[in-house]
Each structure stands twice: as C-alpha cells, then as structure tokens.
C-alpha cells in the first residue's frame, strides 16, 4: 500500500516536496515557487503551486502552520510548509526507483 502511494507521487509533486526540503524553515508559497524557478528554470503558475500544496497536505505528505507576519508583507498572514516523514519516505523511494532504473544507462544517456 505504501509503495503504491510512493509510486503515485507525481513528478511535479516531487519537485514541490524537494523545494520545501531545500528551503527548510522558510518554505511558503512565494519562496517555493522561486526555489523551483532557480533550480529547474520552470516558471510555474501560482495556481498549480497552491493546488499542489493543498493536495499534498490532504494526502498527508505535508503539514502547514500559520505564522506571524513579517514586516515586509505588511503584517499579512503566512502559511509555512514542512514535510511529514511519509513524504521523506516517498521521496527516497522515488529516488531509489529512479537510480535503479538509471544504473547501467550512464554511458547511453551521459
């Protein structure tokens, strides 16, 4: 069952999860989107970020917390995200599967 869930992680979901992991404490929608842009060059729409975050949270991969505002956004509310262990497992599993598939193909695809 768990493996099924892991394999169900979409490519874009993995991207979002990894971006959150990289950002650590500072992961909220604006920074996540910027991190994805910086690392992958993909200019993702805000809509798909929010929808994906919402979906990942519903599926139990993320937890979020409303945080106090910072002066730079004029005191407005902010939702931070962090990964649940389940998400780490899923990412590991995804990576393991990919690495296994990659093995021996370096010469072909290098």
């Amino acid at each position: 069952m768990a493996t099924n869930d892991v394999s169900a992680l979409g490519e874009f979901e993995q991207v979002v999860l990894l971006a959150i992991l990289r950002l650590g404490d500072d992961a909220y929608a604006v920074t996540i989107r910027e991190e994805i842009l910086q690392c992958t060059g993909r200019d993702v729409s805000r809509g798909s970020i929010y929808i994906t975050l919402d979906r990942l949270e519903t599926k139990g991969y993320l937890k979020s917390r409303l945080a106090d505002s910072t002066p730079e956004r004029g005191g407005r509310a902010k939702r931070y995200y962090e990964l649940r262990p389940r998400a780490i497992e899923a990412l590991k599993e995804g990576r393991r599967a990919l690495v296994a598939l990659w093995r021996g193909l370096e010469s072909v695809l290098a």
Binding site: A29, R42, S45, R46, Y50, I51, T58, R76, K78
Partner: protein, 884 residues
C-alpha cells in the same frame, strides 16, 4: 495598498477555501509590494489583479472537478520557456490530441490529402509545362516566328520557304534563324527497316537552340542547295538504339528513304525538340523556293542585348517590303513573333490555368470542411480550453496551440497528399494523349524539390486558413459558463452555428461553380462527339506508307500494293490517299481561278489531297456533284480536280464550278473541276473545314506528297487480324519497305478529342470530390443543428407538433442554406466560367440548361445529405428529452 488586499480577500472569499484565503492573499500582497517598488503602482496593481483572478478561477475549477487532480496540461504548457521548445511541445501535444480522436483525424486527413494531393499534382504539371524555361541556354531569347494572315483568320501561321530565306537574310536582330518541317523517314540497309521520326531543318537550328553537337558538326548553308549533299544528324537516343553509340558513325552513310545520307553529327542527350525526332535532315530547296506554300516552322535567337520589340519592328519592316514586292502571295501578311515557349504551350495554357483554378476551389472546399470539423471538435473541447484559460494560459498562447494543431493536421494531410500526387501523376502519365506528350517539360513532371516546396507551403497555408477562425472562436469562449458542468455556452454556440452555416453556404457555392464548369465541358464534349467527321470511320483502318523511291517507281509500288491489298478476301474496300483524315500533317497552297483577275477579297487557297480512285467510296465521303476519279485520270489525259463543299461555298458561292478550271501557283497546269464532295473534318471535329482540292495520284502535282500515301481499308475483321496481313503484303513487294503505325480510324478520332476528354475527366473528378465534401459538410452541420435543437424539438412535439411539421422545420433550415449557396454559386459561375470560353464547343458559358441541371443536382444532393439528420429529428422522444 491595503485597499487592494481587502478587495482581493473579498474575491477569494467566493472562490478559495477558508483556510487558504488569507495566506494566499498575503503571498500576493508580498509580491505586489516588491513589484510596486520596481515597476510602480499601476503595473503592480494590474499584476495583482490578473493573478488574483487566475487563482480564483483555478480554485473554482478545482472545486468544480470535485478535487480531481489537475490535468497536467497546465504544467506542460508552462514547462518550456523558449519559443522553440513551446512549438515542439505544441506539436507533441497536438499529435496526441489528433491520435486521441481517430475518426475526426481520419476524415479531416482524407479531405486534406485529396485537396492538397490534387493541387500538388496539377501544380507539378503546370510548373513543368508553363513556368520552367525550355531546356536551352537563355531560352527566353529563343523566338518562334510565324506569319499573321488575318484573311485566313491565322495569328501565327507557318511560313513559306522563300519568305523565310528573305527574313534570314535581311534581319538585323537575330543571331541565328532556322526553318523546320516535319518529315517521316524510313531507315533501311544495316538492320530491320524502320519508320523513324525526323525533322527537316535548315542550317543554324543548333545555333538557335544554343546546342553544340556531341560529335561532328551542324549543317552548313551550302547543304541547303539541291543536289550537292545528302546529310543527316542523329539524336543521342537514336544513335545509341540503332548504332550502339558507335563514335565512327560520323562520316558514314546510312540509308534514309532509300537514299544514302552522310551522318555529319550526333546531338547531345540534352537536345530536346517537341516532336522528339530521331534524325535531322538538311533542308534542301529544289529550284525556286515557294512563297505560296506555307509549311515551315521558323525559330530564331535574338542577338545578345537585343529586345523582343526591336526584333518585332525589324521583321515588320521586312514583311511590309515583301508584301509590296509580292502582292499576289504576300498581301496582308505580317510576321508575328512570340517566344518559343509561348508558341509551344499556348494551346494548352487556358486548359492548365482552368485546371489549376478548379483544383484550388477543391482545396478551398476541403478547408471549409476541415474548419467545420474543427468547430465541432472545439465544442467538445470547450472544457479543456476553459481549464487552460483558468490556470493561466494566455489567449495568444492558446490560439498558437490550436493553430499548431491545425497546421500539424494539414502537414500530415499534405504528406499524404504528396503520395496522392505521385500516384495520380503516374496514372495521369498513362492517360496522357499523344498530342500532349509533345509539350515541353511534360517528360520531367515529377514530385521534385519545387513541387515539395509547393506542397509544404500549401499545407501550412491551408492549416492556417482552416484553423484560424475555429482557434480564435475556441479561445474566446465564455469562461465561466463553460466551467459550469452543465454549462451551455449559448453565445459562442450561436456564433459558431452562424459560422458553420456560412462555411456550408460557401462550400455549396464553390461546388456549384465547379459543377457548372464540369457541366459545360461535358456538354462541349458531347457536342464535339456529335459532329460528323464527314466520312464513316467505323471499320476503317489506316496505315501510312512512305515510299521514297523516285516517282515512277513509287507509282508502280503503290499500284501493286493496292492491287494486292484489294485481293485480300476480308477487305471490303481499299484506297490510298494523303494526308489521311485527321492526320497531323497538312499544308495548303494558293491557286488561281480561270477568268478571275485582280486581288481577291479572301485568300484563294486550298489544302491539296492526293488520292487514288475508290478513295471516296472507301471512306464513305459523299459525292455531291460531278464524278470521282478513275484510273483514266492519269498523266497525259486532261488534269482534273475534285473540290470539297467548303471550297465551292467560299470561292463559287452562287455558281456551279463543275467544268471551271483552276491552277496552283506551284506549277502552271490548269485543272478542270470535275466533282464536288462533302466536307471532311480534317483538322479536328471541333474545327471548321478548310477548302480542299483532291488530285489524282496518277497526275503529277505536289510530287513530294505522292511519296507518302496512307493505305485506308474498310473491313469487318479486327485490326489485329488485318495489320499482319498488310505488313506481309508490303514486305512481299519490297522487304526493305517499312509500314507505319496501323490504326483504326475510330482510334485516330478518339485521339484527336483525347485532350478534351482528359480535361473533362479532371474537372469532373474535381467537381465530384467537391460534391462529396460539400454533402458531408452539409450532413455534419445538419446533424449538429438537430442535436442542438433536440430539446426544442422535444418541447414542440410534446405540445403537439407532428413529425412531418418537425421535418419541415429542420429541412427549411437546410433549404435556406442550400438556396443561398446555389444563388451565390450561380453568380460566381457566371463570373468565372468565362475563363472556360476557349475550351468550350457548341455551348456558351451561360448555357441555361447546364446551369439549371447543375442547380437541381446540387439541390437534390443537398436534400439527401440533410435528410438523414432531419429524419433523426422526427424520432426525438419528447418524454426523454423533457425528463433530462
């Protein structure tokens, strides 16, 4: 600032889940503040609202789909930032969409492959024949020189040899000039006797064409004088076929027409002349050249830097001088110049242009059909497109995607079309009548780079033409209404219905134009076939036999041939004559009428025919007055001539010419008119008959003609039985004597109408395709309309409407479109068919019968196409409709 924030929050309150509203609004606000510092408040506000709206729609959509995962399209579209990557992405995506709807793709591809394929095939012919230069260096300076003779209604007639010599001597604008006459040549001696194609040419033809012999040399002017030399040049193909490419051929003697000819040169493989000769013989003038006998085709090459107009003026001056100097033969004769290319393709140009136009109309109809299919598909894709708009695809981006899809569709269709073109060119080549095989470039017609470029260009343009309106309409739909699950985009529906109706009306109109064109050509063809050739062609077989020995021996040969052939039991009648009816070779000669002096208001000319007794009876040409020839009309007895009705009608309109005498200018013997016979359509069934003068083969006139008589026999036996018998008879007399192609006279006639038949077939095929496409288009639109009105029809039926009143209701809609299409088409046809005028025979471009029958045909086909969807409307179950 905060004003924006609170308003965004209010917007989000309607679309976003409660727990997300504030943080998302906060995120937007954060980015807004940053942007405001860099770009100013106006742009930042615009950015803010644009993104807030997009987010609102995204979440509205997410809820509408009940939490189903987002389609990956949104990400895919945004994945590539570069234009090229985007294009690639569009293509990949488009291909996937096309694969997903195989029925739609198949129907659309079929229409496109037919449309683009037919266009590519016709383009490749038109390009090769009309638009490519002739295969000569600076071919645009190669000019064909003819003679305009208004009194004979001739614009570019053949030239008399004496006039040619004067032109060649006196002109200052041509670097070379040459005369050409057709010749049929027998070759014998070293191998099997064979009849080959030849042309008789003066010196300088190779200079005119800009060609150097591969071996040996060109003819010299010295060789034009009779009795000095007998020289020949062979073409590359003949040299290889007959002489095994033997280089020692130059200087050797070969036997042509039973005379030894010295081969002085071999032409390169690149040499091309329309009659595809095997051998060139030097033109020889015997005695004084004639000014009355117009038999020569003249070509010239302009001096470097010289212009066409200078050459025209130059020749005009010479022609004026000649008509003053020789009023009897040259009065009101004007040299007439056109480029050689124009003179070669002039006859077929109107037909080719008409074909190109017709096939273009077919493509337009195919475009309209595919556009309608795309509109139908756009309806089923409304939701997908709404999603894309909702998650932020720009309209331009969306139009680009949809256009890429249609261009992709057209390109695949175009690729299939190129296959269709290659295949139909092969078929067309087999159908090509002999007379069209002489066209320049026709041998090179193929799907080559130019044709491929054309096909690709047409495909892309086609894709844009049929894709652009559906794409804009699809991208312009009302978002909100489309996003409702039960959403009926009423406004865009009404608009696309109007557009569909317009497309169908356009298709009907274009089809009508094509059908009228095909109808007019069909009528012309029927009228041509109805023309009596003036003789009875059934059961007639004709075989040309050129006898090159001197006249007395030739006479003996033909005499013996006729006796032996008449002894064959299955033959009912046999005679000899030249030129045989509808054979290509023909000339005309001026003559004087005894007792008439002064210049005649019309030129007095007739086409001479040399015949044996029994000729009229064998062919079934009626004797109108007087008598026919007998064996007693020989050398030594009084010279006699028989005229055709056309000659009598023209030169003795109100007299009986029997017993009068005429004399041909080429010799000074007076011939007594002893008979009048019916007209024979020699130049073609669709041509007027010229005055003709029949001469007895036993009396010496036009001696050169007396050496190439055709054997004509009437028999009920098949040509396969008769041909070997005739060959046996000929070789029994002389085993070195070849016999020309043995053909049935009915085939000869069929060959003369073959170009007309081919043209008719092609236009009719295009019209047929157009009709099928239009019918399917109408069928599609009516199905759509009925589906759209199902609810309305159900209500009507629930309120008591009968099936027949429902049928009426629906058919009225189809009828309105059909009537509009026919009306517009009739106006278009009246305007466009005048381009057909030169191709018609015995029918005007406004023939009411054709227009009426075509309109009725189209109306019936339209009714049938509308009948199926309409009858579906009558079977609407009101209960089921009202319950849903």
């Amino acid at each position: 600032m905060t004003r924006h924030y609170s308003r965004v929050l209010r917007l989000f309150a309607r679309f976003l889940p409660a727990d997300l509203r504030e943080p998302i609004a906060g995120d937007l606000h954060e980015e807004y503040l940053r942007l405001r510092e860099r770009r100013g408040p106006t742009r930042a506000a615009a950015w803010l609202w644009w993104n807030a709206a997009r987010l609102a729609f995204t979440f509205r959509w997410e809820r509408a789909t009940h939490g189903r995962p987002l389609p990956p399209i949104g990400d895919e579209l945004r994945e590539f930032s570069h234009m090229w990557d985007g294009l690639r992405q569009d293509i990949v995506f488009g291909a996937r969409m096309l694969r997903r709807q195989p029925a739609f793709t198949f129907v659309a591809l079929l229409a496109l492959a037919l449309g683009i394929g037919a266009n590519t095939a016709i383009f490749s012919i038109v390009d090769a024949v009309l638009w490519r230069p002739l295969p000569y260096p600076s071919s645009n300076t190669v000019i064909s020189l003819g003679e305009q003779r208004p009194r004979e209604n001739r614009l570019h007639g053949l030239v008399a040899a004496a006039d040619f010599y004067d032109w060649r001597r006196d002109n200052r604008t041509f670097s070379a000039m040459a005369g050409i006459e057709p010749a049929s040549v027998n070759i014998s001696g070293d191998a099997e006797p064979e009849r080959i194609r030849g042309i008789i040419v003066t010196a300088g033809l190779l200079d005119v064409l800009g060609i150097k012999p591969a071996l040996g040399r060109d003819f010299t002017r010295d060789e034009e004088i009779e009795g000095r030399h007998q020289v020949a040049i062979v073409t590359d193909g003949f040299w290889r076929r007959r002489f095994g490419a033997d280089p020692s051929i130059v200087g050797r003697k070969i036997t042509l027409n039973a005379n030894p000819y010295e081969v002085v040169g071999v032409l390169p493989a690149s040499f091309w002349w329309s009659s595809t000769p095997d051998v060139l013989l030097a033109y020889v003038t015997s005695g004084e050249a004639s000014r009355a006998n117009h038999s020569m085709e003249v070509v010239g090459r302009l001096k470097p830097g010289g212009s066409f107009d200078q050459a025209s003026a130059d020749l005009d001056a010479i022609g004026k001088r000649l008509s003053e100097q020789y009023p009897q033969t040259n009065a009101r004769h004007f040299p007439h110049l056109v480029t050689l290319q124009a003179s070669m393709v002039g006859d077929v140009k109107p037909a080719l242009i008409v074909l190109l136009g017709a096939v273009g109309l077919v493509l337009l109809i195919a475009c309209a059909n595919v556009a309608m299919l795309l509109l139908a598909r756009a309806t089923s894709r409304e939701r997908e497109i709404a999603v894309r708009l909702a998650i932020g695809a720009g309209r331009g981006r969306l139009v680009r995607q949809l256009l890429t899809e249609s261009v992709l569709l057209a390109t695949v269709g175009g690729a299939a079309g190129v296959l269709v073109a290659a295949w139909s060119l092969t078929a067309l080549r087999a159908l090509l009548p002999a007379s069209l095989r002489l066209l320049p470039g026709i041998g090179q017609v193929a799907v080559d780079v130019r044709v491929l470029t054309f096909a690709i260009g047409v495909s892309v343009v086609t894709g844009v033409v049929f894709g652009v309106i559906p794409a804009f309409m699809a991208a312009d739909q009302r978002l909100a209404s489309a996003l409702h699950q039960e959403g009926r985009s009423a406004s865009s529906g009404a608009r696309s219905t109007r557009l569909r109706a317009a497309l169908v009306v356009g298709e009907l109109a274009l089809s009508l134009v094509l059908l009228v064109g095909a109808g007019l050509l069909l009528m012309s063809f029927k009228r041509v076939l109805d023309v009596s050739p003036g003789f009875a062609p059934q059961n007639l077989i004709v075989a040309p036999i050129v006898r090159s020995s001197p006249r007395p021996q030739a006479l003996t040969f033909y005499q013996e041939l006729l006796e032996r052939v008449r002894a064959i039991p299955t033959l009912e009648a046999a005679a000899l004559g030249t030129p045989s009816p509808l054979s290509a070779i023909d000339g005309r000669s001026g003559f004087g009428i005894e007792g008439r002096t002064g210049e005649s208001p019309i030129p007095v000319r007739a086409r001479p025919r040399i015949i044996t007794p029994g000729y009229f009876a064998t062919l079934g040409i009626p004797l109108i007055a007087g008598r026919t020839f007998t064996e007693r009309d020989a050398e030594g007895s009084p010279d006699v001539v028989i005229l055709n009705a056309a000659a009598v009608h023209r030169y003795w309109p109100n007299e009986n010419p029997i017993g009068r005498r005429i004399t041909f200018f080429s010799n000074n013997r007076w011939l007594e008119i002893v008979g009048i016979v019916g007209d024979v359509k020699h130049a073609g069934l669709d041509q007027d008959t010229d005055p003709e003068a029949y001469l007895s083969y036993r009396q010496t006139h036009f001696a050169f003609m007396g050496q190439r008589l055709s054997l004509i026999v009437r028999t009920h036996a098949s040509i396969a039985t008769i041909a070997p018998m005739l060959r046996t008879v000929v070789t029994e007399i002389d085993r070195n004597q070849p016999i020309g192609a043995v053909s049935a006279m009915e085939d000869v006639i069929a060959e003369t109408v073959a170009p007309r038949r081919l043209n008719l077939w092609l236009v009719a095929a295009f019209a047929g395709v157009a009709l099928v496409l239009t019918a399917s288009g109408l069928y599609g639109v009516m199905s759509y309309l009925v589906a759209q009105r199902t609810r309305e029809i159900g209500v009507r039926m629930a309120l008591g409407a009968t099936p027949s009143s429902v049928l009426q209701l629906v058919l009225r809609q189809a009828g309105t479109m059909t009537m509009a299409g026919i009306a517009i088409g009739l106006i278009g046809a009246l305007g466009l068919t005048r381009f057909l005028a030169t191709l018609l025979f015995g029918v005007t471009t406004t023939d009411p019968f054709v227009y009426a029958s075509v309109a009725v045909l189209l109306a019936v086909v339209a009714l049938l196409a509308a009948a199926i969807p309409s009858s579906r409307a009558t079977r609407v179950d009101p209960l089921r409709v009202l319950r849903t």
